[in-house]
């Protein structure tokens, strides 16, 4: 909210400087975001007239100018290009105070200058053409003080307003804050104070729970009421656009001044004339001031005349009963409406106004009549023939100020302070001067502070009053053990492992487009949809981390990267049983050169399925019951036949494989050598052991006898896969490991077959195996291979 310094100063005696003011407001939680100086603050500058222009004898770009200040003629040196004989200009003599400081006499290139013709910036003026000297209006009288031609020096403060600061939404209200917190003396605005008992326009409140109070003042003879310049200037400084009619401008002025929105009806256009505050009837229409036809419903509160709604209460007035330059008789409305009702109406009609902003935050019920009288005063003062005919205060049930019991011990317990009782009492007294000093204090909350309801609220006021620094950083909190959820713990573990394996972590948004879902072969039907997305790019909640990772891949390939090894951990969303389900997944992909940059030792290679499979082994190392399986149903984004399902303790632990060519094509990749995994972290969380001692695998003793090994190369048909062979070795006596060390196809191997070389390592805990014993065990191995797989020794 904008605050004009001079306006605020109308209500406090001896106001502090703008900077001090900003500091004082900031200390109590009203953050001043900007202080902007406006108007003129120079001195010693008069209107001058240019009589003659000569060349400077020693400088091409300078001129010698004769200037009249009304009394005499002076010669000055000037470098501006836009000077002309006859111009009226701001002329500063030695001693003048300008934006750069005091002006001193100077010799410029050997010629004495008796003053200076000023530009706007030299005068410290904002918003004027600054390309040369500032040219004044023809009508300006030489010798007159130039400052009279400009708005007075002032300041605009931009104050950030929080939703609970409804008591600060005006100049008067901020002055009141300063008076409460800093003891500055508050001045009251001038109001029309006479009581007038006429009742030409009856006012009825049908729904007192939605309209606590309705003050109405009828004024006649207001035709031709113009807005005075000082008021228009202030409204302009507020960023409002004055209309020139005080019936409209005055209403805005009072709102900025006191915080109470008001409205003027043209009585000649009111049917009856009468005023009724009631709920709208469903289907009723209202054309608002901005010309929009609104369809009303029973949830809305309206002001109606004898036949129709004339205003949507607290939000906007109707066009048909609005004042115009021809209006002669008006009814000023100043009311207190139910905040949620105003907010609901503002939301459902989409109309946000300065008025609804204040009403939905809650206005002061004790302010309504004061604001109506203030507006009356402003109108009557500027329209000589105006006559007040009726002052009505409809206030069926008077607002009862809540009483909060304040026990100083409780305040100190909430704040963690040791503030003396006297200090707490002094603070409460600043709000409520008549507060009696008997504990616990019965603090009667001012009507403008409807946010104070409890001792917690009062404690905040006390801390603001004394200063938040009164709260020490001190604690005797007891110790408590710290723990993490399994999902959090395994998430960190997985991230650290993947980063250790060379994956870089990325963060993508949770939103995807229909096109991206489709490109990944995912169904939009099962996806949670955002009802109010920022754009169609962000319409659905991701069901898989794949779209984001592919976008990241694309982004980096487009920037010339040749190797992308990335992962992400994040939430995925599904529709489920009429509701939603969320899972945290961890997914990653490898594409391009691997290892990145290659090596002079081994040349350059590309990432492939076995790299990623090996990484999965590392990721799940030590987690019992991990294995790969042929998937019963692989996600559709994998290339058929190039995907394995992972299992952990019998549960699915996600999939690993090569992406399908359709997915790659949809994202414009040149090939589908993209290897991808996606794992639900819940599988790891289920296997996670919270106790450290349980997580530690017990160390097994090793044999004290040397081990032996033999390599065996066999040729067998390709239909037999390695996992089957490996499983068949179980049961071979003393076999410690069977490690595949070579796979060969080609020369000397029949078509459809391959050669596998396996290193068998034997170890006994009882003795050193001799050649014959090892040979016997190898025979058993070969028997199994021959019998089960029709394998033969490679010659």
């Amino acid at each position: 909210m904008k605050i004009i310094y001079s306006w605020l100063s109308d209500f406090i005696e001896n106001p502090p400087s703008p900077e001090d003011l900003a500091a004082k407001l900031g200390r109590v939680g009203l953050k001043v975001e900007e202080i902007k100086r406006t108007g003129a603050s120079f001195s010693g500058v008069c209107v001058g007239e240019i009589l003659k222009i000569d060349k400077h004898p020693n400088a091409d770009k300078l001129a010698l100018v004769d200037v009249s200040d009304g009394a005499g003629t002076m010669r000055v040196v000037c470098g501006a290009k836009n000077i002309a004989v006859g111009q009226k200009i701001p002329f500063a003599k030695a001693g003048a105070m300008l934006s750069g400081g005091e002006l001193k006499k100077a010799k410029i290139r050997g010629v004495e200058s008796e003053g200076m013709i000023c530009s706007a910036s030299e005068l410290g003026l904002e918003g004027y053409d600054n390309t040369g000297i500032l040219v004044l209006p023809e009508t300006a009288a030489p010798g007159a003080d130039a400052i009279t031609l400009f708005p007075k020096a002032d300041c605009t403060l931009e104050v950030e307003m929080l939703p609970n600061q409804s008591h600060c939404l005006s100049h008067y209200a901020l002055a009141r804050e300063l008076s409460v917190f800093y003891g500055l003396k508050l001045s009251e605005p001038e109001v029309f104070s006479a009581d007038v008992s006429g009742s030409s326009v009856p006012v009825n409140i049908n729904v007192p729970d939605l309209c606590l109070r309705y003050a109405a003042i009828v004024i006649k003879g207001v035709r031709g009421a113009r807005t005075p310049d000082w008021m228009a200037d202030r409204l302009r400084a507020m960023g409002s656009n004055p209309k020139g009619n005080i019936l409209i401008d005055g209403s805005n002025y009072v709102m900025y001044e006191l915080g109470q929105p008001t409205h003027c009806f043209d009585i000649s256009k009111l049917s009856g004339p009468k005023i009724m505050v009631r709920r709208a009837l469903t289907g009723e229409m209202l054309k608002t001031l901005d010309g929009q036809p609104l369809k009303l419903d029973a949830g809305m509160l309206v002001i109606a005349d004898a036949s129709k709604p004339v205003a949507l209460a607290g939000v906007m007035g109707g066009a048909d009963t609005a004042v115009s330059d021809d209006t002669d008789a008006i009814l000023i409305e100043s009311a207190r409406f139910h905040p949620p009702t105003v907010r609901l109406a503002s939301k459902s009609t989409g109309i946000k106004s300065e008025s609804s902003y204040r009403f939905e935050r809650g206005t002061d019920p004790e302010l309504t009549m004061k604001a109506a009288r203030r507006l009356t005063e402003l109108i009557v003062a500027s329209v000589p023939g105006a006559k007040v005919e009726q002052v009505t205060d409809n206030y069926p049930v008077a607002y009862e100020r809540p009483v909060v019991e304040v026990d100083p011990a409780r305040v100190n317990a909430i704040l963690g302070t040791g503030i003396a009782d006297g200090e707490i009492y002094a603070c409460l007294k600043a709000f409520q001067p008549e507060l009696k000093d008997s504990k616990p204090w019965k603090f009667t909350v001012p009507s403008y502070r409807q946010d104070i309801e409890s001792v917690w609220d009062a404690s905040e006021e006390i801390a603001r009053y004394i200063g938040y620094d009164v709260i020490p950083a001190a604690s005797q909190m007891p110790m408590l053990p710290s723990s993490a959820t399994p999902q959090w713990a395994v998430g960190i573990e997985a991230k650290n492992l993947l980063a250790g394996l060379g994956f870089s972590e990325v963060y993508n948004y949770d939103f995807v487009s229909a096109r991206e879902l489709k490109a990944c072969g995912l169904e939009a039907g099962g996806a949670v949809e955002v009802k109010n997305p920022l754009s169609s790019d962000y319409q659905y909640m991701r069901q898989s981390l794949l779209p984001g990772l592919l976008k990241t891949l694309s982004y980096n390939l487009n920037r010339g990267r040749e190797s992308v090894v990335i992962f992400e951990s994040g939430t995925v969303y599904f529709k489920k049983d009429g509701g939603k389900a969320e899972e945290v997944h961890c997914a990653g992909l490898m594409s391009g050169e691997f290892p990145e940059g290659g090596s002079w030792k081994s040349g350059h290679g590309s990432a492939d399925f076995y790299h990623l499979k090996g990484m999965m082994n590392r990721l799940f190392a030590g987690k019992g019951g991990f294995r790969f399986e042929a998937p019963r149903k692989a996600p559709s984004y994998f290339q058929p036949g190039l995907c394995l399902e992972m299992k952990l303790g019998g549960n699915s632990a996600g999939f690993v494989g090569k992406l399908g060519s359709g997915v790659a094509a949809a994202f414009d990749f040149k090939d589908n050598n993209i290897f991808y995994f996606e794992i639900p972290l819940s599988c790891m969380a289920a296997a996670w052991k919270p106790e450290f001692w349980q997580k530690i695998a017990k160390i097994k003793p090793v044999s004290s006898f040397p081990q032996n090994w033999r390599d065996l190369s066999v040729v067998l048909e390709e239909k037999y896969d390695w996992a089957e062979l490996e499983r068949s070795f179980s049961g071979v006596q003393d076999l410690a490991s069977a490690r595949l060390i070579d796979v060969y196809k080609g020369k000397n191997i029949p078509e459809g077959s391959r050669s596998l070389t396996v290193r068998f390592t034997f170890s006994s805990t009882e003795k050193t195996l001799n050649d014959a014993e090892v040979g016997a065990r190898m025979t058993a191995v070969m028997d199994k291979l021959t019998r089960n797989f029709n394998a033969r020794l490679r010659s």
Binding site: G416, D469, M477, M479, E505, Y507, D510, K531, Y538, I566
Partner: protein, 351 residues
């Protein structure tokens, strides 16, 4: 010759080598080299004698002899003004300056690094991690947190809604803050409760250098008997010291969040300029000496009541911070969009 005699002889050769080296003005370096290290030099002859020594001792003695030889060569080299590594025996067979094997370097995202570090800091202060859903009910995200329906405080958080309804028939929403985890935890647990809840949140805002429609927060909640603003300030000051160094100070300024009362905005003393007024204006704290980092306060009695806690018996504090802001400070990032662009040239810089 036995091993002991051999060693004594080696020692004697080394001594006389030292004497020669020290008298280099009178002796010529080439002559010294010939005398000790030449093909028929004293050391070469001694090494040849090793053949008479039993095999099990020979190896160790040989190593001693070779070490002595290398030492002598280095000292002679230095004398001749030749760098040690260029000496004939120091010349390696391999170019050790060739690149090592490219073990791939992976990185954690700056937000993960920041989040993990913050979580660790709070774990030391006895805070446990709690988590909650990202698609939330209006009740947990707003109502139970003292944002009544039609309250203007709801304008502080522009909300995304999804096409799923909760049990009461209201549209579910993407949580706008991590605070609903406060409610979920209090409804499931008895005090004392001391939790943090890190995670992702969403607000319908245009993306710019300091805003994103998806970002991260860390929530803190402590509920027990006799919990005060002073406990809160101590906790946050300890946390800030852990993160920004022991000189970090915390300042509270009045502020408003519906679920706390009194409420405070928490600022930390600027560790980047240490609040020095002289010199160029600090770009981080804008010369104020303080950086705004958190919102905090005493748990509002309405929140306790919503969780069936008696506000006369229990009290608590809560705080919340944006992770992005911390990450940007710690990593020196000035544009939040950088955190979601996933440019590996950026991410690979994380140490």
């Amino acid at each position: 010759m036995n091993a002991t005699e051999w060693k004594e002889k080696l020692s004697a050769i080394r001594d006389s080598f030292s004497v020669s080296i020290n008298n280099v003005q009178t002796e010529n370096p080439e002559a010294i080299e010939l005398r000790f290290l030449g093909r028929k030099g004293e050391l070469a002859l001694l090494l040849r004698d090793l053949k008479d020594i039993p095999i099990e001792e020979r190896k160790a003695l040989g190593a001693l002899g070779n070490t002595a030889k290398e030492e002598m060569m280095v000292r002679l080299g230095a004398l001749k003004g030749v760098p040690a590594s260029a000496g004939p025996a120091a010349k390696p067979n391999l170019d050790l300056t060739l690149p090592g094997w490219p073990f791939p370097k992976g990185t954690l995202h700056p937000l993960t690094v920041t989040l993990n570090r913050m979580t660790e800091c709070f774990a030391k202060l006895g805070f446990s991690v709690a988590e909650g859903p990202l698609i939330e009910e209006d009740y947990f995200n707003f109502e139970a947190l003292n944002f009544p329906p039609f309250h203007p405080a709801r304008d502080m958080q522009d909300t995304f809604y999804v096409d799923v309804k909760d049990a009461s028939g209201k549209d579910m929403l993407l949580r706008t803050h991590t605070s609903p985890v406060q409610i979920r935890t209090m409804k499931n647990q008895e005090p004392p409760i001391r939790i943090i809840s890190p995670g992702r949140v969403f607000r319908s805002e245009a993306v710019d250098a300091s805003h994103s429609f998806a970002f991260h927060q860390i929530e803190g909640l402590y509920v027990d008997k006799n919990v005060s603003m002073a406990d809160l300030k101590w906790t946050l000051e300890e946390f800030m010291k852990d993160l920004f160094g022991s000189s970090a100070k915390v300042r509270f300024m009045p502020s408003y969040f519906p679920f706390v009362e009194p409420g405070a905005e928490v600022e930390v003393s600027c560790v980047f300029c240490r609040g020095k007024a002289d010199g160029p204006r600090c770009p981080v704290c804008k010369g104020t000496g303080w950086i705004e980092l958190l919102g905090a306060g005493v748990v509002h009695p309405n929140v306790l009541k919503a969780c069936n806690y008696d506000p006369a018996k229990w009290s608590g504090f809560a705080f919340g911070a944006g992770i992005e802001r911390f990450a940007m400070l710690l990593f020196g990032i000035s544009d939040m969009r950088m955190l979601y662009e996933n440019d590996l040239r950026i991410l690979k810089q994380v140490q």
